[in-house]
Structures are given as structure tokens and as C-alpha cells.
């Protein structure tokens, strides 16, 4: 019951709604104004619905049966798919790993972890090759652009806005009694200081709801303009999909497990929700420690900035460098590489899950410490 009342406090805050609405308007504006050349991907999606997403003889036959179009989309797709080959066949990802090791002068344990990571990935690459995983349609020649635009740009904005929203609403809730001068009444009630736990669960719930609201409208707008319905079952490791970094250049998009585009989308949504919850948890810890919400928000911002700056400061690629790459803000920065080997930017496999777990545990410890401290703090 108290949980619902805590949610109600947030729901009755016009500034929060204003913020969410502005974010939604901003996302929709960007999506609409940046939308260009969706004609081809939408055509590919319509082909995917009819011909399936596996690039085999049947696909080519069904594509050939499509009527010719004035834009030349069909011809372009025929050319692209006819040339398609299994990019994982003889793909030596261990050699890519060695390049990362070489450029960063990694040695000792770090080089060993890198080598193990890429040896494991090689095994998976071989299985992808055996399954012809890359012979999948996705968006054909438009894949790289659309994959980057959805999982890089749209998710990037969505997640950044959700993190800000999560942090602010959490700090708002944890500072609510103080700002309304109801601390004494609230903490002397039967619920007492356990109210903080209720506030935490309400904050995390509200953060996820805020993410959901932002996602539904922003992604809804995006999917209305860019038709994904025909390619959801396509493999995200399609030969048309690439990942890019300065050391290895363009190379196949390789994930630790086989994902369809829909599966990958859901997995990324899951990680995003996890990051939002982690930021809420961290903000809650800060909100309990610091009674000034303004300073609290600054601390949250500074902590995240530090997590970005620290790897730059520890440019020698030490363990400390890589530990900072597991922070939520760094995970946000690496969102386009979630569930892949992560290139040279991360050391461990499944860095997104590892980072989320590590951040979750760290922030939970911080929160519990703050809670313990608060349980014996004099309130005046």
C-alpha cells in the first residue's frame, strides 16, 4: 500500500511528466527528421515477410517473383543477396584478438584473458559458419545503417533519457519527505525507516515504467517509419551486419549466442532496463547518504563522468582500466557492441551482463551501507 502511495507521489509531480513528454517529443522529432531512405529497408522487410529471411534458392526464387519497381529496390536486393556468402566461413577472429593485443601492448593476464575470449568466440564463429548463420537477410545493404540507427542512436537516446529520469525520480522520492517536512511523521510511524526500502522498490519500478513509456512512444514512432515486421526472425549476425573499430576496421557482427533480430532487440531492452535499475539503485544510495538532492544529482553525474574519464586516465590498459568499462555509463557507450566480443574496449566476454551484475552488486552494497547508516542516524 505504501508502495503505491510512493508511486503516487511521483505520478503527482508535473515536472517528471513534463520531462518525459519533452524526451518523447525530442525522440520523435529526431526520428522523423532523420528518417531518410526508409523505402529500401521497408521493401526488404516486405520481401522478408513473403520470402523468409534465409538466403537460399527458395528466397531467390520468391524474390524474383516480386514485381519490378521504379526505384530499383528489387534489382538491388537481388544483386546484394546473389553475392552473399557465408562471412563466418574461414573467419579468423583469433587473429582479430591478436591485433587488439598487439595494438594495446597487452601482456600477462590481460593478454591471456583476451586470447581465451577470442578462442571461445572462434568456437562460436565456427558453429555459426556450420549453421550458415550469416546467410540471413536482415535489411540487406541497409543493414549496417538501420542496425546502428536502432541499437546505437535510438537506444542511446532512450537509455540516456531513462537514466537521467531514473536518477532524478529516485532522488526526488528519497528527498520527498525532507522537502515536504514530513520526515518526522513518516519515520516515527510503524513503517519507520523501512520506508526507504519501499521508496527503493517504488523508485526502481517507476524508473522502469518511465523507460517503458519512453520506449513505447519513441520505438513506436521508429518502427512506424521503419518496418521491421518482415525481418524480426532474421539473424542479427547476418552477413550484411558489421561492427567497426579503428583497429580491426569493418568485420562481421559476431555475438556470443545466436540471436534473431527480435531476440537481440529484447535482450538489449533487458540490458537497458537493468542499467536503468542500476542507476536508480545508485541514486538511491546517494539520496540516502546525502540529504541535498541537488548535490546528490551532481554526485551521480560526476560519478558517471569519472567512469568515462578513468579508462582514459588509465590508458595503459590495466585491469583498473577494464574494470571501469563495466560501469553503467560505459556500458551505455558500448551499447552497439552488447552481446558481441566487445572489440578491444572490453576485456571479458559477456561484458554487458558482467557489468550489469557488478554494478548491481556494488550499488546494492552501497545502498545497504547507506541504509544501515540511515537506520541509526538522528533525524532533526
Amino acid at each position: 500500500m505504501v508502495f503505491l502511495y510512493e508511486l503516487k507521489k511521483l505520478a503527482a509531480t508535473p515536472a517528471l511528466w513534463g520531462f518525459i513528454m519533452l524526451c518523447v517529443a525530442f525522440n520523435c522529432f529526431i526520428t522523423i527528421t532523420q528518417e531518410s531512405g526508409a523505402g529500401y529497408p521497408n521493401f526488404v522487410s516486405s520481401v522478408g515477410k513473403t520470402a523468409g529471411t534465409t538466403l537460399d534458392r527458395s528466397f531467390q526464387e520468391m524474390l524474383a517473383a516480386f514485381p519490378d519497381d521504379a526505384d530499383g529496390f528489387k534489382a538491388a536486393l537481388q544483386t546484394e543477396t546473389a553475392d552473399a556468402r557465408d562471412v563466418f566461413e574461414n573467419y579468423d577472429i583469433i587473429e582479430i584478438g591478436e591485433r587488439y593485443i598487439g595494438v594495446h601492448n597487452a601482456d600477462g593476464k590481460i593478454a591471456e584473458i583476451f586470447r581465451n575470449k577470442y578462442a571461445d568466440m572462434q568456437t562460436h564463429v565456427d558453429s555459426l559458419a556450420a549453421a550458415d548463420e550469416s546467410m540471413s537477410l536482415y535489411f540487406g545493404g541497409g543493414t549496417y545503417y538501420l542496425h546502428q540507427s536502432l541499437f546505437g542512436d535510438v537506444f542511446g537516446r532512450l537509455l540516456m533519457e531513462s537514466m537521467l529520469c531514473a536518477s532524478l525520480l529516485t532522488l526526488l522520492l528519497f528527498g520527498y519527505e525532507r522537502s515536504h517536512n514530513t520526515e518526522l511523521t513518516a519515520y516515527s510511524s510503524k513503517t519507520g525507516r523501512r520506508l526507504l526500502l519501499t521508496k527503493l522498490s517504488a523508485s526502481i519500478t517507476a524508473s522502469i515504467i518511465a523507460f517503458g513509456l519512453l520506449a513505447i512512444v519513441s520505438l513506436g514512432t521508429y518502427f512506424t517509419l521503419n518496418d521491421f515486421s518482415g525481418i524480426w526472425r532474421s539473424s542479427v549476425s547476418s552477413g550484411f551486419n558489421k561492427m567497426h573499430d579503428l583497429i580491426a576496421g569493418m568485420r562481421p557482427f559476431t555475438t556470443w549466442r545466436s540471436f534473431t533480430v527480435l531476440g537481440y532487440f529484447l535482450a538489449c531492452t533487458g540490458i537497458s532496463i537493468g542499467i536503468v535499475a542500476a542507476i536508480s539503485l545508485f541514486s538511491a544510495a546517494v539520496g540516502v547518504f546525502l540529504r541535498n538532492t541537488y548535490v546528490g544529482f551532481m554526485i551521480v553525474v560526476l560519478f558517471n563522468a569519472l567512469c568515462v574519464v578513468a579508462p582514459i586516465a588509465f590508458s595503459g590498459r590495466t585491469f583498473i582500466h577494464y574494470i571501469f568499462t563495466l560501469s553503467p555509463i560505459y556500458l551505455w557507450g558500448l551499447r552497439i557492441r552488447w552481446f558481441t566480443d566487445g572489440s578491444a574496449d572490453t576485456l571479458w566476454k559477456n561484458f554487458e551482463l558482467l557489468g550489469l551484475a557488478a554494478s548491481g552488486v556494488l550499488f546494492l552494497i552501497l545502498y545497504l551501507t547507506a541504509n544501515k547508516h540511515f537506520a541509526r542516524r538522528d533525524l532533526s
Partner: protein
């Protein structure tokens, strides 16, 4: 005056200043250091070009006349001799079958190099060869730019969609020999550095000044203030305290980040006209590098003060600091979009900007900021508390 000072004292609180300082440090590492480093250290042969521009400035003054150019080009044989010495001494060249700089020139035209050739080709530009390879590239590029400036301008006139006034201006650069300026091609880095400084000025001004009124209202101090002899005039003083604080903070940041920018080693070009032959950026008006930086700083100052004025209004209508932040974030993003995408997108540059986008938007922002703040103050005179 006393009230103004007391209000400023409320704004300049130690804890917030500490956080602002930390933020500036992190922000600087994240966004600004890169540009300083690229001008002076990591961008090759840009760094060598800048170094040679400095040499020209030291030896021939802010402009390079044709006879001075001939003299300057005598450096090239020296560089080649230096390169030949490295080539003779280092086995890496011998292993690749390279015995003098002419072999390197031939190699540069060959796209299918062996591993040994590839290594040798790049070694000449590295520190162990005192970057002599890049120095030769830089001097060749300078010579090319100096001798073919007229052709470049003609191409520009025909290829780029310039307005009539811009075409006149481009011809003026040639006829007035403005292009004799030895100014290196560092405008992009400079502009980007000061663009991020402008964003930092806005951000820190908002952080420092915006809580003033919200905190007073949260503590119900506004009731005491309004009931005092000063009455609602306190808000006018608080607005002035906000604007002055924003101005002061921005000036402090100018000093700090101006000093940090000197690490790039470009301050010696302050008196050089930026429409020089080395670069590709031409301005609507004749302007020196120092003048250009001055323009960027004025734009930053206007942005910071206008933002503070608008934030003052937001703070008046915020019950708590968190609701204030909810309003400030979109506002900050909007100001940054105007700054980064429009105003600081090559300000004053021919082909990419005009006077409206350079100064008009910020003038409008400043006007809106001060006007809205004034309206809020006027409204406050009759508001029931």
C-alpha cells in the same frame, strides 16, 4: 549593493564550487583536451605544418611575401638531407631497399608495398626520425598551397554555392593579399575547443546560479524577504546577482581554459589574419586569430548569461531542486543544440554561416532570457504568496 553581495555569497557556496571544479576537470579531460593535443602533438603532418607556420612567423612576420617564400623553401633541402642521413643510418631502410629520400617518394606512389617497405615508409615520420618525413610533407603542402592559392580560390568560386557578397569577399582576400598570412590550419580545432568551452560555461552557470531562488522558496525565505523593506525588489537583486555570478564564473573559466589552451602552442598566431594560404577557412570579414577567439568568447559569454537569466525564471517556478533539474536538463540540451549545431558550426565562415546564425540566435536567446526574466519579475510584484 550590500544585498547584491549577500545574494552572491549565497550563490558562491563552497560545496557547489567544489562540485563545479570537479565537473570542469572531468569535462575538460572528456571533451577539450583532445583538441589541444591534436593541434600540437598527435595530428601529423598538421603539427609539423603549425610548427613551420611558427617558423615563418618568427622569421618573416605575420605575412609571407613571395621573396620570403623562396627563402623559406630553402628549408626543404635541409629536411631532405636530414631524411637521407636517417635513411643511411637506420637498417630498417636498408632492409627495404631504400637508400635515399627519392626512394621514399617512389614508394609513396606504390600502393602494393612489402612489409619491410611499409615499415620503412612510416618510420621516417616517427619520433625516431624526428618526424622528418612529416616535415617534408608539411613543407610540400605549404608550397603547394602558397603557389596554387589563386587556382584554389577560382575552384571555390565555381564549385561552391556562394552568395554574391561571399564571392566579392573571396576575391577581396586575393586582391588585398590577405592570404599572405602565415596562419596555419587550426581553425577547426580552435572552434571545437571553444564550442565545448561555451557548453561548459552554460552548464556551470546553470549549476551555480539556478538554485538561489528555489532554495529561498523551499526554506520559505521569500516570505521574509517580501515582507522586508526591500520587498519584492529582492528578486531584481537576485537576478542581478545571478547574472553577475554567471559573468564572473564564465570569465574565470575563460582564464583557466584559455591558459590550458596555450598548451596547443598557437597563441603566437594571435595577430595573424586567419584567411591565410595554408588553411581552407575564409571569413566574411578580415579578422585575426585573436579576434576570432574573442568572437568565440563573446558568444560563450552571451550564451552563459542568457541561460542563467532563463534558468532564473525556471527556478522561480520550481518547488524543489529536483523539479528544477527536471526543467534545466531539457533547457540545457536545447541551448547546446543551438550552440553546437548552429552558432558554433564554423562561425563567420564563408559557405557555412551567416551573420544571423552566428550572432542573431544568441542575441535572440539573450533577449528572450532577459525579457522573460524581466516579465517574471514584473509578474511577481502582484503574486499572492
Amino acid at each position: 549593493m550590500r544585498i547584491l553581495l549577500l545574494e552572491m555569497k549565497k550563490i558562491w557556496r563552497g560545496r557547489i564550487l567544489l562540485l563545479v571544479a570537479l565537473l570542469c576537470g572531468l569535462y575538460s579531460v572528456l571533451f577539450m583536451d583532445f583538441y589541444v593535443g591534436h593541434i600540437s602533438i598527435t595530428d601529423h603532418p598538421g603539427a609539423e605544418t603549425t610548427e613551420l607556420a611558427g617558423y615563418m612567423l618568427d622569421h618573416y612576420g605575420a605575412t609571407l611575401e613571395p621573396d620570403e617564400f623562396d627563402e623559406f623553401m630553402r628549408l626543404r633541402p635541409q629536411f631532405v638531407a636530414e631524411a637521407n642521413q636517417y635513411i643511411a643510418e637506420m637498417p630498417v631502410f636498408r632492409d627495404a631497399g631504400i637508400y635515399n629520400y627519392d626512394d621514399i617518394v617512389v614508394l609513396s606512389q606504390n600502393l602494393e608495398r612489402s612489409e619491410a617497405e611499409e615499415r620503412a615508409y612510416w618510420v621516417l615520420g616517427m619520433e625516431q626520425c624526428n618526424y622528418v618525413g612529416y616535415r617534408i610533407q608539411a613543407i610540400d603542402s605549404i608550397a603547394e598551397n602558397y603557389t596554387s592559392f589563386g587556382t584554389r580560390i577560382n575552384t571555390m568560386l565555381y564549385d561552391e554555392p556562394l552568395t554574391a557578397s561571399e564571392q566579392i569577399r573571396v576575391r577581396e582576400i586575393v586582391s588585398l593579399k590577405e592570404y599572405y598570412s602565415v596562419f596555419p590550419d587550426i581553425i577547426e580545432y580552435t572552434k571545437d575547443y571553444f564550442k565545448y568551452l561555451a557548453v561548459l560555461c552554460v552548464l556551470t552557470s546553470l549549476i551555480l546560479t539556478s538554485p538561489l531562488v528555489t532554495l529561498d522558496r523551499a526554506r520559505k525565505m521569500n516570505q521574509l524577504q517580501y515582507a522586508s523593506a526591500t520587498g519584492r525588489g529582492i528578486l531584481t537583486r537576485q537576478l542581478f546577482a545571478t547574472l553577475i555570478s554567471s559573468l564572473l564564473l564564465t570569465l574565470i573559466l575563460f582564464v583557466i581554459f584559455g591558459l590550458l589552451f596555450t598548451r596547443a602552442g598557437t597563441m603566437k598566431f594571435l595577430r595573424c589574419d586567419i584567411n591565410g594560404f595554408i588553411g581552407n577557412s575564409f571569413t566574411h570579414i578580415p579578422i585575426t586569430y585573436g579576434g576570432y577567439i574573442g568572437v568565440l568568447l563573446v558568444l560563450s559569454l552571451v550564451a552563459a548569461i542568457a541561460s542563467s537569466a532563463l534558468a532564473f525564471v525556471f527556478s522561480r517556478f520550481s518547488d524543489s531542486l529536483v523539479t528544477l533539474i527536471f526543467k534545466l536538463i531539457p533547457f540545457f540540451v536545447a541551448v547546446d543544440l543551438v550552440s553546437v549545431l548552429l552558432v558554433f558550426n564554423r562561425p563567420l565562415m564563408i559557405g557555412t554561416s551567416n551573420a544571423l546564425t552566428d550572432f542573431g540566435l544568441y542575441a535572440i536567446l539573450l533577449f528572450i532570457g532577459v525579457a522573460v526574466a524581466a516579465l517574471a519579475l514584473r509578474r511577481e510584484r502582484r503574486v499572492d504568496i
